[in-house]
């Protein structure tokens, strides 16, 4: 057992817990931040992505001890009150979700990506997002949402046909 302190979504929090526990479990079970999703527990799907000091990290393979003293942002902490974060807004506007289970991880990964590379090329988006799995395979809409968040896409195209 150890007492760990960190900032979660802007608030100081502390927890007494075995330091080996995955950060994912602590966020979901101790802090009830269930927007953080489990998808594999092996660092392969990034459904569990959170921002640790602004960088996207898989919380399933991050022992909670490693997050001590750091600032953690989950999907719940991304928006500012009622107003959605631009990346959230872009996902909603593009309809970039089917079952939506990968969505929090996608949005946080994209947020960190756009922070580093505000105007990514399509190749940079694919490269930067490739660690995140979407089993509904909604990748084309997600790419569109990231482009939109980067200000590269105007309004949603209407009509029934593809690109």
């Amino acid at each position: 057992m150890a007492t760990l302190r960190f900032t979660v979504n802007g608030k100081a929090r502390s927890v007494d817990t075995p330091g080996d526990r995955p950060l994912l479990d602590v966020l979901r079970e101790d802090f009830k931040l269930t927007g953080v999703k489990y998808g594999c527990g092996e660092g392969q799907c990034r459904a569990c992505t959170v921002l640790i000091n602004g960088r996207a990290a898989p919380s399933c393979i991050t022992p909670v001890r490693a997050a001590g003293g750091k600032s953690i942002t989950t999907i719940e902490g991304l928006s500012n009150g009622e107003a959605l974060h631009p990346v959230q807004q872009a996902f909603a506007d593009e309809g970039a979700l089917q079952c939506g289970y990968c969505t929090p991880g996608m949005i946080l990964t994209a947020t960190a990506l756009l922070e580093r590379t505000p105007h990514p090329t399509p190749e940079q988006i694919v490269e930067g997002m490739n660690g995140n799995l979407c089993r509904c395979c909604g990748y084309p809409r997600i790419i569109a949402a990231v482009q939109r968040a980067a200000g590269h896409r105007p309004a949603l195209r209407e009509g029934t046909n593809g690109e």
């Binding site: 269930t34 988006i125 089993r135 084309p140």
Partner: protein
């Protein structure tokens, strides 16, 4: 093998949706459980809560389908499950259309066995052709009721009334009546409770205002903010986390386990009931640790199990004992083969694959006063309710199953294992218990898409027209098994086999495997006849809808020009097919890695027709998703196993499609406003693999006859 024809048994696909009895047998005998200290945690301290009303409103009444709120919101109730395929939005659109209200005024309540009508399993693309019309009829009846009530109250002819945005007004006179105004009225109460419910006149397609127009998921905001509660996110007061001891291999049975070892763990409740061993603890970490401890004491009896090497011979040699192959015969295959001027034969394989929905199986179970409530991710809430009742020896109305919109299914969640496990643990612990399967459990213990061996023999006549077609499928299933290509003699057989792995439904069922074999073989036949693959197909297609998508895809892709122009290492291929009343065709360009023989899909142009389109935005997502999901099974997906152990049960080893696999996608939708809409979540998956195999032949000159597609001598 029984070659006697029994023509009367068409092989209907629906019977192959997995309908499995639960594999849980509990003694429910307290002496066989152990409960331990830290026991304060085990005393039920749930705050009393008004117990939920049991039993859906009288079925067959309008009330069971529709609630008009005095707040102006209208709630539609349906037994379907949202798993990303879009029924929630589609149902809202359908109701809004008939009620003449904006979609924003509709709330959709799905899959709560206490509250909604039983619309059956969410499978087989049935929501669009079955549930949507039911919702529309109910909504139309409510609309007519509103107009009639207004007419009566104002003593006006209904033709003089106008309904707009949910409000009836009278031309040239004052007065307004809305659905909210109708709510709570006597007229409504009477009409709503009469069974059978009145049915309203459906709005003809040409007058649609809401249906037929693109609409994104109505509740997207909840998902982008992380506030949507998935089955694995359900929280209940005092809830514990459960974990189950799994056998080390398929077919292993438990001989001994020592629960005393976890006695000293604080707050942990253990259960050993028959073959079931599990525990519940205050955190999932503690539960996993306890199970690890138990696993160290467990002794298992194992039996020899088949392996994925040699799988297809195994399947062929193990037809289900006593089972007869299902056969459909036209003409005489023997005669056809005798008089054919050219004969060809080939065998195709499709591997076992896993659905791997992003959200693994999950359930929360809670007992209160002998009543069981379960929140879980299943496509089959009412059947699961009945099964839970049976297993726990309760009357069905004592069980309530609620399915929160869940994180994917693809046909893989017709069962509800986690629900039984959570319920058993919760009963023991006296507290709600959440069981969430790990990815490894999901790979190993969920059911998979059947593997299949398909053998085809065909003969051409002297004009190189199909004369005879003989098709046999071992194990994978009968969906789309009947060929759409004209042949005077034809035999189609499906042989059920003893499957080494637990298997069941998968998006589009066996139509993927059957279409793969058929479409690859059609290319082989075309090549044997010296014919062009498109022309060869067109010469054998009578169905104009299939012809239309084939023409649309090839035109848009530029098939005739592009097939001639070959870039080194790349090739173009096509495939088409039909299943569940919709039609698909795809043209692809594929490159083949000269070193590994592995294909890469560079571009796909797919045409699709599913009758009148209800929601173009939803349809586009379903078709894109199906193509890319189908690409996974074409490229790499394959469960490998050896003597009862899975060798690749993780996302690191079982590689599903990622961003980097996404090709250029062009979609061409044929919106048939003259035809009834049919479901579109499945069939768009069936063309990508065969089109790719045919393109690989064009690129490298080698036939690939297995899914995943692998050139000879190369490894995955």
């Amino acid at each position: 093998m029984n070659d006697q024809p029994f023509l009367s048994e068409p092989v209907e696909p629906e019977r192959h949706e997995l309908r499995e009895e639960p594999g849980y047998v509990f003694q429910l005998d307290r002496r066989s459980f152990l409960q331990f200290a830290g026991a304060g945690l085990l005393i039920s301290v749930l705050a009393p809560e008004a117990s939920a009303q049991r039993g859906a409103a009288g079925t067959g009444t309008l009330e069971s389908r529709l609630h008009l709120g005095e707040d102006g919101f209208i709630t539609v109730l349906a037994g379907k499950v949202e798993e990303g395929q879009g029924p929630r939005t589609e149902i809202a659109m359908a109701a809004a259309e008939e009620l003449r209200v904006p979609v924003e005024r509709i709330r959709v309540l799905l899959a709560d066995t206490d509250l909604v009508p039983n619309d059956g399993i969410t499978a087989g693309s049935r929501t669009t052709p079955a549930t949507i019309p039911a919702v529309r009829k109910a909504a139309a009846a409510a609309r007519e009721l509103l107009i009639q009530t207004a007419a009566r109250r104002w003593n006006a002819a209904p033709e003089m009334l106008e309904l707009r945005a949910g409000v009836v007004t009278r031309k040239g006179a004052s007065g307004a009546l809305s659905y909210a105004g109708l709510a709570g009225s006597e007229e409504l109460a009477k009409a709503f409770q009469s069974a059978p419910a009145p049915e309203g006149k459906l709005t003809p397609l040409k007058d649609w205002q809401t249906l037929g127009r693109p609409r994104l998921r109505i509740d997207a905001r909840e998902f982008v903010t992380g506030s949507h509660v998935f089955p694995s996110d359900i929280q209940r007061p005092g809830m514990l986390y459960g974990c189950v001891l799994r056998p080390p291999a398929l077919g292993a049975t438990l001989e001994y386990v020592d629960l005393v070892k976890i006695q000293s763990l604080p707050g942990v409740a253990g259960v050993h009931d028959g073959y079931f061993v599990g525990c519940a603890a205050p955190t999932s970490w503690a539960a996993r640790q306890a199970i690890k401890t138990l696993a160290g004491t467990a002794q298992w009896k194992t039996t020899d199990q088949p392996s994925s090497t040699g799988l297809f011979e195994y399947l062929k040699q193990h037809p289900v004992s006593g089972g007869q192959p299902r056969v459909q015969i036209k003409g005489s295959v023997e005669e056809g083969l005798k008089s054919a001027s050219r004969r060809l034969k080939a065998a195709y394989q499709a591997a076992y694959i896993q659905h791997a929905p992003m959200e693994p199986r999950a359930a929360v179970a809670e007992w209160r006063d002998g009543q069981l409530s379960v929140w879980t991710g299943t496509s089959n809430p009412f059947a699961v309710r009945d099964q839970l009742a049976k297993v726990f020896q309760l009357p069905p109305h004592s069980v309530r199953v609620i399915v929160p919109d869940m994180g994917g299914g693809f046909g893989g969640k017709h069962t509800a294992e986690a629900a039984f496990e959570a319920a058993r643990l919760a009963r023991e612990a006296g507290k709600p218990v959440s069981v969430r399967w790990t990815r490894a459990e999901e790979f190993m213990w969920a059911y998979s898409r059947p593997a299949g061996l398909i053998e085809i023999e065909a003969g051409l006549d002297d004009k190189d027209q199909l004369l005879v077609w003989d098709f046999a499928n071992y194990n994978s299933g009968a969906a789309a098994i009947v060929s759409p290509y004209r042949s005077p003699h034809a035999r189609t057989r499906y042989v059920e086999c003893d499957s080494p792995l637990r298997q069941g439904s998968y998006r589009a069922l066996a139509s993927t495997a059957n279409n793969f074999a058929r479409e690859c073989f059609m290319d082989e036949l075309a090549a044997a006849a010296g014919a062009e693959p498109l022309e060869f197909r067109l010469a054998h297609i009578d169905n104009t809808r299939l012809r239309d998508v084939l023409v649309a895809a090839t035109d848009r892709f530029g098939w005739r020009e592009r097939r001639g122009k070959k870039k080194p290492g790349t090739g173009a291929g096509l495939a088409c097919g039909t299943e569940k009343g919709s039609y698909v065709a795809a043209c692809v360009e594929v490159s083949v890695d000269p070193a590994t023989g592995a294909p890469r899909l560079l571009e796909i142009c797919q045409a699709y027709e599913c009758g009148a389109i209800l929601n173009p935005a939803g349809l586009k997502q379903q078709v894109e998703g199906a193509i890319i999901q189908g690409l996974g099974a074409a490229l790499r997906e394959e469960l490998q196993f050896e003597n009862g152990k899975l060798l690749n049960g993780s996302f690191a080893r079982y590689r599903v499609p990622r961003f980097k696999d996404v090709p250029k996608i062009t979609l061409e939708f044929l919106d048939r406003k003259d035809l009834e809409p049919v479901g579109a979540g499945e069939t768009p998956i069936i063309a990508v693999a065969p089109a790719m195999a045919n393109a690989m032949f064009a690129a490298a000159g080698e036939r690939v006859r297995s899914m995943p597609l692998r050139a000879k001598g190369t490894k995955s």
